[in-house]
């Protein structure tokens, strides 16, 4: 009984264990995998990321210089980030935005 009172009093004085989510977001770690980011400037459209992707989420069109990602197929494993020879693909530790539709995210290189 005394032990229980002790715990109850302690819990009254402690900070809450949860956070007020929309107001305060959880900090991610440096390596946290949240979102694939693509910079089109250096891309040579070699297609290695498309071949290595285990979920077939990336499509590369060399002729039209288009790089496409299906965020609904992507499992965020980071394989494309590791294999990209020009380091155009990076992993962000920021949360992904809510998708507006289920289409591919299509990025076209404009010279």
């Amino acid at each position: 009984m005394a032990n229980m009172l002790n715990i109850v009093l302690k819990n009254f004085l402690k900070k809450p264990k949860t956070r007020l989510y929309p107001l305060k977001e959880r900090d991610s770690f440096e390596r946290t995998r949240h979102k694939i980011h693509f910079e089109t400037a250096d891309c040579i459209h070699c297609g290695i990321c498309q071949r290595k992707c285990p979920a077939d989420a990336i499509k590369v069109n060399r002729a039209e210089k288009i790089w496409e990602l299906n965020a609904y197929r992507c499992i965020i494993c980071g394989e494309c980030v590791n294999v990209c020879p020009k380091k155009c693909i990076t992993m962000l530790n920021k949360r992904r935005d809510v998708a507006e539709n289920k289409k591919y995210i299509s990025i076209k290189k404009v010279d």
């Binding site: 770690f29 440096e30 946290t32 290595k52 979920a55 499992i75 494993c77 980071g78 590791n82 530790n93």
Partner: protein, 358 residues
Amino acid sequence: MAKTVIPFGPQHPVLPEPLQLKLVLEDDVVVEAIPAIGYVHRGLEKLTELKDYEQSVYIVERVCGICSFMHSMAYTRGIESIMNIQIPQRAEYIRTILAEIARVQSHLLWLGLLADSFGFESLFMETWRYREDILDIMEMITGNRVIISANKVGGVTKDFTDEHIKFILDTINRLEEKIKDVENVFLNNYTVKQRLAGIGILTPEDARELGALGPIAKGSGIPLDLRTTGYSAYKYLDFEPIVDNHCDSYGRTVVRIKEIYQSFQLIRQAISKLPSGEIFIPVKGLPNGEVISRLEQPRGEAIYYIKTNGTKTLSRLKIRTPTFANIPTLLKMLPGSRLQDVPVIVLTIDPCISCTER
């Protein structure tokens, strides 16, 4: 007396996974249990015959949502032995440490589910709060909480820094103290003991005969632990398999709690011996041959049969998960128990049905 048949599952509040047991009851005593599985078959074994053998690491990781790291470890170890690759020692140690961290999180998850199965909500939440700290370690090192994708044929993808090692040691030191409080409730509380002691008895003879694995065998007094064969970096670490002679649900709880402490010890040992150097060696060529790769998962021994024919894809992958081997022991434990004890007994084998059906 007239017999009643009650379907337990596939949807049941205590089991998040679809296992069906047809319970034949006399009054409220179970006479017989007939299992039915096959509700979540996903065809992952077949999928590996269509993908590149390196991509298949990500497929086998998704066989199980709890011991996913160990599935990829068994697979990569199998492919490496077909291709005669000796991975760097640092990679072996990192795999061992991550496997032990995964074991701790799995056992904490199970303790929470057990508390939930006999209706002890606050104990369930407390245990899962500690599990969050373990998941933070995983996220800090590899970038994800459970499906960590840290394995690769030829080594591991993520290295430890000094900061990570300090974080791991701080966290496990802090958790070890906290888990002692929870342990006290699980093992000494009168109410909890009433729900565990003498429930779901499995004698050592039955356990041996039915091929019990992992904590079920250890809880029945059989020191069966594949880690003692010294795969990966376990051959450099000093430990003894944990055994308990209660032979009931209480014994299995004791084994799992003690294994958490043992895993902490193994993590400390491995970190103190962690060699420096490379974590990955490049792999050339394609695998050609067949192999059986085994390792000790939180639930027992997993067997991977891998057959390759010198092409990019595998020609056959067969996975035998520990839950599949433990279902016969469950059918032995259930007869004679009362209906209200069935959820607790089912949970003590730590069923992972999506693992079993792949």
